[in-house]
């Protein structure tokens, strides 16, 4: 499936579940659907050799998602091309990066006690903790092997990125720092580690493949800056969706507050309140208490915090676009711009 410059309509790719009736898809959307299909096929192939973990892996494979990271990888691997037509090893790498993300979610759900993921039981809830842990580890191993086989230069960043990811997950469980500034910094670090490291990985692998397959050198700093702003905007968007019970995240809204997670909207609300101790006591009380979580959620929504968060998201996404526009133009760049646009709250 390819997408040529001339035929590309810069309409945003559909990131949410499609509605029951919808107009005929644009060229960008048609490409996305075909690319996702191809990514899914490769996901299945990568996990095909497994035997004892078969049921749990099949369950992971059934998991639907936006496939944002693999799509970004494919686009960065084809930046500057007049045609968006990924090669087979690019699809394999894209499938691996998506599976890596899914494996991290399987373990993260156990850490967070999350029994639901994307509107169905999480893997640890459907099977058991032991099997889910093994499934996550197995997938991660296979993905690393696949990525290392796709391009010889890819390996360099993989281990470090994985460490960042795990470190961020561990940071979430730490006792809280004593100031709102330290808390905000920690939240940014956690976002950079949990969300950013996988986006970084996808984008950098895409660039490696672009260099390897098409001999095109795109400054990696641009891509990294894009990734930082994009992932921050993306995570804030996710936090906001959770706060506002947006159906697009496909898990119960208000989940973050019940978990006691200091999300970006919470931190901005706390800053606005000017009473860190009070804000923190509210979040602590909300942890595990649906009613108190709902009250806190209402309080945060009733202030202008949501608007502030929206402004911050827009700011981050605009910065992401600025960096992206400095990369070689073409359908891949347009597609990524469409993804960014779609995240605007």
């Amino acid at each position: 499936m390819s997408l040529k410059t001339a035929s590309f309509e810069p309409s945003a790719p559909e990131l949410r579940d499609p509605p029951a009736t919808r107009p005929a898809p644009s060229a960008g959307e048609t490409w996305r659907l075909a690319a996702v299909q191809e990514i899914n096929r490769h996901r299945g192939e990568l996990l095909a050799p497994a035997r004892f973990l078969r049921p749990s892996l099949d369950y992971v494979l059934e998991l639907e998602g936006k496939r944002l990271r693999p799509l970004l990888l494919l686009c960065f691997a084809n930046l500057g091309e007049s045609e968006l037509k990924p090669r087979d090893n690019e699809y394999r790498a894209a499938a691996a990066i998506e599976l890596l993300h899914e494996a991290s979610l399987v373990h993260d759900d156990i850490l967070d006690n999350s029994t639901v993921r994307r509107n169905r039981a999480s893997v640890g809830e459907q099977f058991n903790v032991r099997t889910a842990t093994h499934a996550g580890g197995y997938i991660t191993s296979i993905c690393l092997a696949t990525l290392a086989e796709c391009d010889r230069d890819i390996g360099e960043t993989l281990g470090a990125s994985l460490k960042d990811l795990v470190c961020a997950q561990l940071m979430e469980e730490l006792p809280h720092p004593s100031s709102i500034q330290a808390h905000q910094q920690r939240s940014i670090d956690i976002m950079a580690g949990k969300t950013g490291s996988l986006f970084d990985m996808a984008i950098q692998i895409g660039l490696h493949l672009n260099k390897h397959n098409k001999s095109r050198h795109i400054p990696v700093e641009l891509a990294i800056r894009f990734s930082r702003h994009f992932s921050l905007g993306f995570q804030m968007r996710d936090d906001l969706a959770d706060l506002e019970n947006d159906a697009s995240i496909r898990k119960p809204g208000g989940n973050d507050l019940v978990q006691g997670n200091p999300t970006w909207p919470f931190l901005m609300w706390a800053q606005k309140k000017g009473d860190y101790q009070y804000a923190w006591a509210r979040l602590a009380a909300a942890k595990g208490n649906q009613e108190k979580a709902q009250q806190l959620q209402d309080d945060i929504i009733s202030t202008d915090t949501a608007r502030d968060v929206r402004n911050k998201i827009t700011e981050e996404l605009e910065s992401a676009k600025d960096n992206l526009r400095r990369t070689p133009p073409g359908p891949a760049q347009d597609f990524i711009l469409g993804i960014v646009e779609k995240l605007q709250p």
């Binding site: 973990l53 373990h107 029994t115 809830e125 191993s141 390996g155 994985l162 561990l170 006792p175 330290a182």
Partner: protein, 546 residues
């Protein structure tokens, strides 16, 4: 005041064992120290007060090795004084280099001693020592030429590293600890303390196999130093930045680094009866005990009885290996427990993490011995690190619950345990990445197979997969033919399987003895007034002080 005569008569070789043991409990008498007119007496006293446990270990060595060690240690402490006691990074860097140049005879005027007006004993001692720099230079010049060169080389290397580190602050604008946490903690630890560790092994005339890396010991010491400073700052409520995150990062770094050390120490060659082995055992035991003490975790019995460990290790390599095995398990358990504690889980049973895969020590030793044969020493070291980290990663996942998530208690520890295992896994992958993409692909597939084996109920590497993969990598590097590689892979796989079946029969004699001993009422000297840090042969980093 003839330093040369002192050296020739071994007068400057540190305190005796008895004096050193008594010195563990003594605080410094500064008036007396300032009045001492004999350089040898002054240096011996300083060595005792600043070295603490090192002075005890040094007393187990022959005098001619001791005196060079005493002089080197004190010179390092002078550099450390200039590193830590000047507030301004640029001044500090300039004075570190000046002190090194004066000690090594490149300049004739010593830099002024740093001024310290606080109450911390070690800092006061270091400041006083820096004021007696000419005595140290005389002592260094009185050493035989080859020893002088060896000490001068060490001082030059570490001084440059320390000066660069302090000079960076001018640009980074960050404090000591935060700056290092941003990435160069490991590098600094390896290049300063790691070099001192290597020097110490050379001093002890212990052959250092090229395919083993001892610099991580320096990293461990550096991390411990930071943990100590962190705890002190915390007590004084002077902590900058996000304390829990700094501690987490330090502990993770400690986890990663500590995995390789016991194995490397176990590969050292000693004489049948060896004071050097005793000294190293003493330092290892006190080091582990001090980590436990700092982090408020009970120390293993052998670590809590370092003199007994040293005495037994003097006569028995088997006991030394046993001690290292115990330390090995303890480090893993310790760090894992601590990571849990950081999250508020205080009641974790340590035994969960010290069992499991660690029982397959014979199999692991076999894999490591194959890795050592890689023709490229850097790769040999990386392969060994990979094996250790990968095994730890799997061992942590032993006995995972078969409940669903909703069946777990609310404040369960399993998620965190899994994350710690994931960190080991990522660290292992990171090490293999440095070898190459082909190896990363190979070992990742081995890892996947090992995980599936676990799911099917098999033990860790029951089928000898790691040994087979390591054999393949080593023999390919040795440019063996495909036929030779295949034959060796199958042979080593079969051997590994056999070793798995045998498992390690724990040395029952030692185990029984130690169990019996641990039933006796505790025999230990009265606790020192101040907390001790075991590894003391280092500037500042692992010193016996508060």
């Amino acid at each position: 005041m003839n330093m040369r005569a002192d050296i020739e008569q071994h007068r400057l070789s540190g305190p005796t064992g008895r004096e050193a043991l008594q010195g563990l409990r003594q605080s410094a008498d500064f008036t007396r120290l300032q009045q001492l007119q004999s350089p040898a007496d002054f240096c011996n006293r300083m060595f005792l007060l600043l070295g603490r446990n090192l002075a005890v270990a040094a007393a187990m060595l022959p005098p001619e090795k001791r005196q060079e060690g005493v002089i080197t240690f004190l010179c390092c402490r002078v550099l450390d004084a200039h590193e830590d006691l000047h507030a301004d990074g640029a001044t500090s860097a300039r004075h570190i280099l000046a002190a090194m140049e004066y000690l090594t005879g490149k300049i004739t005027t010593p830099p002024p001693a740093p001024i310290y007006e606080g109450n911390r004993e070690t800092d006061r001692l270091e400041a006083l020592l820096s004021d007696r720099l000419p005595w140290l230079r005389q002592a260094l010049e009185a050493l035989p030429r080859p020893q002088q060169t060896r000490v001068s080389t060490l001082l030059t290397r570490i001084a440059v590293e320390m000066a660069n580190d302090r000079a960076k602050e001018r640009f980074g604008g960050q404090g000591h600890m935060e700056g290092r946490l941003d990435g160069n903690l490991a590098e600094y630890g390896r290049n300063v303390l790691g070099r001192i560790v290597q020097y110490s092994l050379e001093l002890l005339e212990i052959d250092i196999p090229l395919n083993l890396d001892f610099k991580p010991i320096g990293q461990i010491l550096q991390i411990l130093n930071h943990i100590r400073d962190f705890a002190e700052d915390n007590e004084r409520q002077q902590q900058a930045g996000d304390g829990p995150v700094i501690m987490l990062k330090l502990l993770l770094e400690l986890v990663e680094t500590s995995t390789t050390t016991p194995h490397a120490l176990g590969k050292l060659h000693f004489a049948q009866i060896s004071g050097e082995r005793a000294a190293i055992s003493y330092m290892v035991a006190t080091g582990v005990a001090s980590i436990c003490k700092q982090l408020k975790v009970p120390a293993p019995w052998l670590a809590a009885h370092p003199l007994l460990s040293a005495r037994a290790a003097r006569y028995s390599q088997s006991f030394f290996n046993y001690l290292l095995g115990e330390i090995d398990s303890t480090l893993l358990a310790l760090v894992t427990v601590l990571l849990q504690r950081e999250a508020g889980h205080d009641n974790l049973p340590v035994a969960v993490y010290s069992s499991g895969g660690r029982a397959n020590a014979l199999q692991e030793a076999f894999e490591l011995s194959i890795a050592e044969q890689h023709p490229d020493t850097a790769t040999a070291i990386r392969l060994q690190n990979y094996i250790r980290l990968s095994r730890f990663s799997l061992a942590i996942l032993d006995n995972l619950p078969t409940h669903r998530i909703s069946g777990l208690p609310h404040n369960h520890i399993e998620g965190r345990r899994i994350m710690i295992s994931d960190y080991f896994f990522a660290a292992a992958a990171s090490v293999v990445c440095e070898i190459g993409p082909r190896e990363l692909a190979l070992f990742s597939r081995v890892g996947a197979a090992l995980i599936e084996d676990r799911e099917s109920g098999r033990g860790i590497d029951e089928l000898g997969r790691t040994a087979a993969a390591v054999t393949e990598v080593v023999l390919q590097a040795q440019r063996c033919s495909a036929q030779e590689i295949n034959a060796a892979v199958e042979r080593n796989r079969a051997h590994s399987v056999a070793l798995f079946a045998r498992r390690r029969r724990r040395n029952t004699a030692f185990t029984t003895l130690i169990r019996l001993l641990s039933l006796l009422p505790p025999f230990r000297p009265a606790p020192p007034e101040r907390a001790e840090l075991g590894f003391t042969f280092a500037p500042r980093s692992a010193l016996a002080d508060e």
